[in-house]
Symmetry: C2
Subunit: 208 residues, 2 copies
Amino acid sequence: MDNVSSNSSSPRAGRPRSERTRHAILDAATDLALEGGRVPTIDAVASRAGVSRTTIYKWWPSSAAVLAEGLLDRFHESIEFDDALPVREALTLQVDALVTLLRDTPAGQLVRQLLAAAASDRALGLAMLERWLEPRRATAAHHLERGVQQGGVRADVDTTLVVDALFAPVYHRLVWGHAPLDDNLARQVCDLVWPAVAAPTTAPTAAS
Amino acid sequence: MDNVSSNSSSPRAGRPRSERTRHAILDAATDLALEGGRVPTIDAVASRAGVSRTTIYKWWPSSAAVLAEGLLDRFHESIEFDDALPVREALTLQVDALVTLLRDTPAGQLVRQLLAAAASDRALGLAMLERWLEPRRATAAHHLERGVQQGGVRADVDTTLVVDALFAPVYHRLVWGHAPLDDNLARQVCDLVWPAVAAPTTAPTAAS
């Protein structure tokens, strides 16, 4: 549950205090969003955090950008899984954690609203990518690479494509709403992808 | 290239004229959107189509809803494929047509903007589902069912899940922008999904 601060390795004068302020702003934006189910205004975030608008704009271009970062910090534990788990199980649990997060908490509608806002706000889109999607993709890619090293996953696996195949159906159902985020979705998606991902276990009849 | 009108089987007094008006409105919204790269206003659509706002609101709740329907009609040919094609090839071509449409025409950014607007407009979301996504899903499901009948696709295929797996990565890349809509994407996605979809061709060693 340790939050990983990207600034923790660059001590500077005043850092502890500004770090406290940053976290107060992130917490305020996230709490307001989870309570209200929508992206809060800058004024509401400033008021809740006890800072000025200027302080917020020093670090972020919009309240949506604050929220994108705050949501990641808040739900960071949902992308941390033990390397002791078999790769397929670790990936299934990761997809299932996303399903549960998007279905059972306000994070689902917040992510949907942030994605919608990102369609006309390039900086927010980049923040969402950097703070929300890429860390989750990196965790999944880590497990796939672990599988390659351990021999259970094909050495020529297309990591970008497989990570898309694992997570895209979850976001697709969130955004379009054509089918529910079922309890079984994560396992079904992993079962569907796995035959193409697993290293061949039979005798090598057709090498290359 | 025939547009299929869902009303063509219910003749009523005045239908031909109102049909012409409907099509003029759909064409106006679609032309304006493709020229401008964004959802047009109701006033712009009314002006281009030579009708009143009231006439448009008689049939649609918003210009976005008009556009959702107009875009489907305009790009309807991208979901029509010959049943003479092998199932896997028909599905690959369908995904590839979507990749090309979303990448190489303004339809991509329009779909992204309509999806964004749908996050806070339930009627639009339903129109997008009904007019854009479901007809494409139905075509893909048709090919999968054809494959079951012909024996190339597993009889227990989860059609909803497989259709998600085929199309979700395309929309995922459109919405998040984390990876490009490559020329190879459609084939890669189909190759990834196919081992889990194909009916077993080996001797039945473990039935059921």
